[in-house]
Symmetry: C2
Subunit: 434 residues, 2 copies
Amino acid sequence: MPVFLNSADADFEDRFTALLSMKREDSPDVDDTVRAIIEDVRDRGDAAVIELTTRFDRMELTPDRLAFTPDEIEAECAKVPAEERTALELAAERIRAYHARQMPEDASWADAAGAELGWRWTPVSAAGLYVPGGLASYPSSMLMNAIPAQVAGVERLAMCAPTPGGACNPLVLLAAKLSGVSEVYRIGGAQAIAALAYGTETIAPVDKITGPGNAFVAAAKRRVFGKVGIDMIAGPSEILVIADRHNDPDWVAVDLLSQAEHDESAQSILITDDAGFGQAVAAAVEARLEVLERRAIASASWRDYGAVIVVRDLAEAAALSDRVAPEHLELCVEDPDALSSEIRHAGAIFLGKWTPEAIGDYVGGPNHVLPTARSARFSSGLSVMDFVKRTTLAKMSPAALRAIGPAAEVLAGSESLEAHGLSVRARLDRLNEG
Amino acid sequence: MPVFLNSADADFEDRFTALLSMKREDSPDVDDTVRAIIEDVRDRGDAAVIELTTRFDRMELTPDRLAFTPDEIEAECAKVPAEERTALELAAERIRAYHARQMPEDASWADAAGAELGWRWTPVSAAGLYVPGGLASYPSSMLMNAIPAQVAGVERLAMCAPTPGGACNPLVLLAAKLSGVSEVYRIGGAQAIAALAYGTETIAPVDKITGPGNAFVAAAKRRVFGKVGIDMIAGPSEILVIADRHNDPDWVAVDLLSQAEHDESAQSILITDDAGFGQAVAAAVEARLEVLERRAIASASWRDYGAVIVVRDLAEAAALSDRVAPEHLELCVEDPDALSSEIRHAGAIFLGKWTPEAIGDYVGGPNHVLPTARSARFSSGLSVMDFVKRTTLAKMSPAALRAIGPAAEVLAGSESLEAHGLSVRARLDRLNEG
């Protein structure tokens, strides 16, 4: 049974705080193993990657088999049924249209002192995209990682995906093709992250690595951070639904289960201002769980981490939601726009009862790589911004230097950085001579 | 003597690559110490912070002495001489004006399918700003860290700075006051980072921590990353100057030294298309080094990591600069704007000979917290963007769901996520009934 809380209860604050601080992730300490793998790949390149792939993925590779050939990619893509191809194309098109609006603009202006100021955005040159193998090999995640990079103008997109025993997912390869991926390597784990970060004889190094992965991949990404950029390390998925009684309990139930089915550590929370509706949703969840394909996973998630919270009113719901800072937030209420404006911390908001979260996983347009574990308090979902960087620009005229240079000289002096001051002074002296 | 390279030499590529891969940072492995400190602060809160401060900063604190009182801050600020106060105010005003232009805009639109899409930016609720003690206690860095947070609308700005033996820097406190810092704690090191991330009885936890620090601070920031957001871990400073022969060699020399004087591990590189000019700058550096206050540091940096590179033309200079991806790039050439447009990877560009890099350290307007160690390939300097986060928005009408829902259902099926598909199907069925 999930937790039932009522904000009117005396022990509510304690129990809500306990819910917030629940540790859902059991991350094994694989850091020593990962450190050794990364060192091995740095030292021995392809040879290390091939040996590690034999060990972990039961695959005998050779350097010229590390990458899929264009023909191999085409052959895999041809296996995708028409209905799935069309759906993937629609998803790619909608994700591309949404992300195209995220391209930040350059700026330049002159200020009162006569200084020309501004900034310019440029894309990362090469990005590495990781796709897990097995059950978590999601074509939608491929689109969500690659399309922002493609829109940003990244020239080289290299993807790594393990193919345990040789098995690969044709839909993932089609997604890669649809989103401009130029290189596909059949390697995974920490060895793939190391190869992307440091390069091997066959794989040129990249500048940024994104994409989900298991504990080894996550630990490897943490280790190569600094040498390359990385996206956030994602935790288990979460949904918070705020719903009033004017909803079909079954719709809300399947929405809650659509996160719960991801992972036994996923978390689904309902906040409602109607206790009876809360009970009805809980009953609908149980009914759906009887027949759901992934009921073992979803039941465990709902039992261990699920919660139904009854509140006095929707303003209280918004305040509690902000304390959770959920990855996904559904607002199934009469005026979702008004309620949305009260929310400060959420990865993505789905407004109104016709917007199930699953739309956002595939075809809505916004990215589904979103901050988990309360990190929406300080971070954002994946976007074009993750694949561009800003260069600031400053140009002084002699007049501008004369106006603001002396202050720089004073501050350099106060920080005991003499050469800083001298670099300004040398120029001011010339101006004063003239 | 610094390295002299000429791109026409047969061994140039090897030597340039060696320059690029030079390891300048000697980061001691303090991770075990830092892990213990963080655990101690999590377990024992204020008591641990106070004990650690006694040990590392030779200061006997009590919980009510952790923070400066408003009166104490005022008293310290009153010690700042008028000239320095005025300079700091000018800097704050210019930094604020520049960063105000960085506030990203919300967006919302409806697309052809009838989906309402968009995003909204909200500030982080609380930010922690770290300021090192001793020699590296720079008021300018306080402004550069705090003002972007203030501009972003962060409600609570908490600053930590160690005050070894009780000594504090009045200018840093004035800078804090000028940039809206509301809490100032006289603590430092890993214990300060732990207190900011996890909170103590006296210090409420924050959501984001920025600011430079020693190896302990850097290791602590790495460890708390995920629980809170952090900025980049900064390495030693760098400057690359591209200069033609129409420059005063002495100006370029002091510009190179203005980085070299920061740190023995700093790096200053000159790229020029005129070998004679390169020699003249090297000679000017030697002359300045004879009398520079920080000549011990600057000489070591210039000797160990400095370089003068002679190239055929400016296009080659731009290409080499991109391989360095310098933190600071000065373009002392006749048409700096044209050359700037050829640059893809640099933290900040200073255009023309009237723009010494030191202007950017203090009063230019752009941030001086910039990506080091070649990370300008994938990351940007500190900005307002570091203190806001994006919530994506999606709202389907029944018609929009009918248009794009089926594709989501197909993709959910291909990923074996049944409840995802059911959450869409339940709604589509209702529409088909109607």
